[in-house]
Structures are given as structure tokens and as C-alpha cells.
Symmetry: C2
Amino acid sequence: MQRTSLTKNPCPVARALDSIGDWWSLLIIRDAFDGVRRFGDFQRSLGVAKNILTARLRRLVADGILALEASSDGTPYQEYVLTAKGEDLFPVIVALRQWGEAHFYRKNERHSVLVDRHDNKRVQKIQVLSSNGKLLSPSETLVKKPSALE
Amino acid sequence: MQRTSLTKNPCPVARALDSIGDWWSLLIIRDAFDGVRRFGDFQRSLGVAKNILTARLRRLVADGILALEASSDGTPYQEYVLTAKGEDLFPVIVALRQWGEAHFYRKNERHSVLVDRHDNKRVQKIQVLSSNGKLLSPSETLVKKPSALE
DNA sequence: CCGTATCCATTCCGATACTG
DNA sequence: CAGTATCGGAATGGATACGG
């Protein structure tokens, strides 16, 4: 039996995970944000088997997250670049990164950080804000079903 | 051969995904944010096989994302609740939700939304901000390796 | 250099039956 | 109700060999 598809699931989180909820896709996307564009570079960076990488890249292209482009340098190969839809995953990656930084490193263990290119300062912690700009904790929010909207 | 563990990976995103980068874990956590606490409720909500659910819940407890508590009502069973580490995933879930809303629904298709409990208004779009509060696009940021920090 | 094809082991997943 | 046990099929993952 096949894995249940979530593309028809009513929840936006489920539909999102249907595209990128596997072990490798978000790592590929993270690399793409870091400027990786070539098959071999993804492969070396991730240490993933080539056939798996092929399948994942194809899926991401089919889902409109990556696109194939002619190479920027002279080489006759194509490159994988983020589409607008893919770029919209930036907050997801940053949130994951900050969660990882907070909970998976020992006190004296250092890790890379995300900085503003212009002033070299660390990016702010990503937050959930109300319409008037106040920080919201999970318990102060509520998921409202479409049927319950006016 | 086993899947390569990412717990020693230098990248915070990779370490995070080692805990929650599979198909079900983030959906379980989403449910937990929505107040689901009992085994059977997770099972019905997700439609996942019970043995898989068992394995995932165990992993999340072992990783300190969920904890087992005595039930709040009178029943003699235990409940799965988010730890502080688990609650810190809130921005990740919200970012995923907003990305899903933006890209996986047709024009007239409605979906649930996340609102502020106090005023019933929609939560702001999650953003990556510089230290002085300006919105940053992916290309305006840079990942700095620990070796390159002063 | 960029993939594709194939092989094999492991894991994942769903369904169902079962226990306390 | 909350799991455990087991089964079979599918997908995943790693390695390697091959082709344009």
C-alpha cells in the first residue's frame, strides 16, 4: 500500500509537508539558499546517494520549488535554482535553524549563524506576532476552521 | 545500511531535521499545538497506523519534544504534552502553515487560519528581520561558519 | 561532469489481530 | 482505551557500474 497523500488534506501544514516533509528535501533547499546549484555540489554537500538525489530534485522541480536553468558559467550543464515558491520557504529554514541552534548544541559548542549581509550582525529570532505587533505564545493563538469564519 | 545520522552534523538545520524531519513528526506536533494529547486522538486525527504512531511518539519523547503526563481528567491513562523544547517549534509550524496557505490552495478554496485568541484577528506573516528591524530577503543574508566568527 | 540503471538491505507504512 | 505483535508491500538509502 502506498503512503497516504496529503495533497488533499484540509490542513495547510499537511499539504506543505507533502512536498517537503521528507528527510532530504529541506536540506537540499537549505543548500540552495546557501548558493548551491549543481547536482554534484548537492551530492557532495549532503553525502546522499545519487539516485536518491535525482528523485528528490525531480520532485522539487515538479512541485515548482526548484527550476532548471542554463548554467551561469560557461559549462553546458543545467543548474537547480529556487523559484519564488521555493524562496518563500526562507522563514521555515530560518525557524528550523534557530530551533536547532537552541536545542542541539552543548554550551561550548559553536555553530554557524545567519547574519545580515550589510552589517554582519545576527538576524533576529523569528517570532509569531499579532496584528498589532505583540509577541504571541502558542496558547494565545487558535486555529480557526474555514467554516467558522464569519 | 542505516540512514546516516545527522546528530553530529555541523549544521543546525540538519540536527533539527534529524529529530523532526520525517513525514509524521511535524504533524503530531501540529496536533499537539492544537490541544491533542491522547494516543487515540492523534491516531484518529492523523489516520496513521498505530504502530507507526507508537514509534513516532516514543522518538519525540526520547528527544525531549513531548513528555508523558498523568491525564488531566479522571482517566487512568497518560497524555503526551509539549515540553518547552517542543513549544519552541511554534515558529516552525507557523511558517510551514503560512507557506502551505500561500501555495497549495486554489483561488476560491478556503482553509483554516491562525488567529490571536484575544481579538480573533489573523496572525502576522512570519518574517526574517535584521537586528534593526528591517525585513531581510534570502539574498541579503549569509551563513557564517563558526571559524569565521571574529 | 551529470546523471541513469541496477542491486540489495533496511526502513517505513498500512492493515489487522491481539492483549490488559 | 492504549498500546503490542506481526505481516507484506512499498519506499528509502547506499554502493557501484554504466553512458552521454
